[in-house]
Amino acid sequence: MDPVAALKERFGEDILYVKEFRGEITVVTKSELIVDVMMYLRNTPGLTYNFLSDISSVDYYPNAYGDEYDGTEEYDYRPERFALAYHVYSMLYNRRLRVKTFMMEEDPVAPTLVGVWPAANWLEREIADLMGIRFDGHPDPRRLMMPEDWDGHPLRRDYPLGKERVQFSFNMQEIQNHKPFADE
């Protein structure tokens, strides 16, 4: 069964965009629907995408808004700042599919997939920590990689790459001066 045709028949207008690049199919849908889409992909005989390979996040920071947005067709399908890319794999038919959703810049939020695949638990926690996308209904929404009191989300494109000098001094004041994030 062709996943794109099946999804279009089931969800109709809510499948916003379909793209193929280097043999990989990307289906863009609304973020509210992601649980329904995943349940459908997992449970429908003929599709049986039974394995969640990966959830990744993308930040389209300068291109989504601002001067560089030129309104061409290329940017039409990704008007928002953040995207989530879900990669599912069907062991039965040996094929992969990418489902993408887009989120607003202010308070990006998506429903959690933990109820569909428990594997999503840590993948979502990592995204929430490093990219700052909130997952509605997540059972354990703590930070994963960064300390609990860390300010900001390091993987965002507008978060500066922190550079830290090698410490050759034992003078604490001098060390602190070169650590931009240390004393926050």
Partner: protein, 385 residues
Amino acid sequence: MLLNMGPHHPSTHGVLRLLLELDGEEIVTLMPDVGFLHTGIEKSIEDKSYEKGVPLTDRMDYLTPLSNNMVFSMAIEKMVELEVPERAQTIRVILLELMRIASHMVWLGTQAMDMGAMSMFLYCFREREKILHILEMCSGQRMMTSYIRPGGVWRDIPEGFHEAVNEFIDYFPPKIDDYERLLVKNPIWMDRTQGVGIIEPDLGLAYGVTGPSLRGSGVNWDIRKAMPYSGYETYDFNVPLGEHGDVYDRFMVRLRELRESLKIVKQGIDRLDKHGPFRSSNRKFVPPPRSALGHSMEAVIHHFKLWTQGYDVPDEEVFTAIESPRGEISCYLHGTGENRPRRVHFKTPSFMHIAAMPMFSEGYMLADLIGIIGSVDIVLGDCDR
């Protein structure tokens, strides 16, 4: 009772903190705490041109750096449609399989040592040393080789490579026999591993467990067979499977994988010519040979452009996955149309395995946990990135 195991407990294989809630000696809940090794490799790669990201990927899974190089290089090759010569693919396969043996050696040594078999640790590191020596011949480095690059491998295999690999192929099988004699029928080993840390196949799939840990539960899924890359479909090898999904089965699967990997290395080295192209000749993406710089202006220009500016890749996204010794490692690469990636994300097997750890360790004894941690072969650099 609440017990902190780690971050520097010797059996946590790195800096992993396990927060345990115990009832007597039984584990009621387990909460893994990671992030101690988080180095922001994904963020750092976003600041570099594509070729310069390769040395950073070495630092993720430091026991099998070539697998990380491979998955990142494959993503770039897919993105810019770069052809890799067949001989380069053969070199890649040989070294990837040697790396798999080396990685399994560390796993076997450390797991056996955790369970009290000290001599295994010394034997396994002795064997690993031979493989690291072969890598050092090729790249000058023992661990962080960055040998697999987009378009092929960094440089040609050295003189004496065939002899060194053939010597290892003869040297290694008797050693596997030794390991089997030491452990497979060992009553203490069997008592401590059988029926412990059982991963049910469906639960394993739902929790994203991959690689030998999943195959120990009898799920026949190996990316080398399912979605062959680098010419794996032309090699003859078997995928060992377990039945019960306990620590013992995962141990047996990895032990049998050693022989299968050796089979692949043997086939690869037999078909590898002594001379030929070791990387793509597309000068827009792969630097020209060093010798050409002396007499060709074109070569100088390409060399300069590639190492200062890099190359542009389209504003699109690709996803590649390979079978690392620990399981499925995948790379999601999103370009910007310029010479730096917008987003690079690695999904690493250890990350998923540590996340799934509560599923297959709750309800067992604290002493069993030592075996369970070793049996999924976690690497914390792989988890935290």
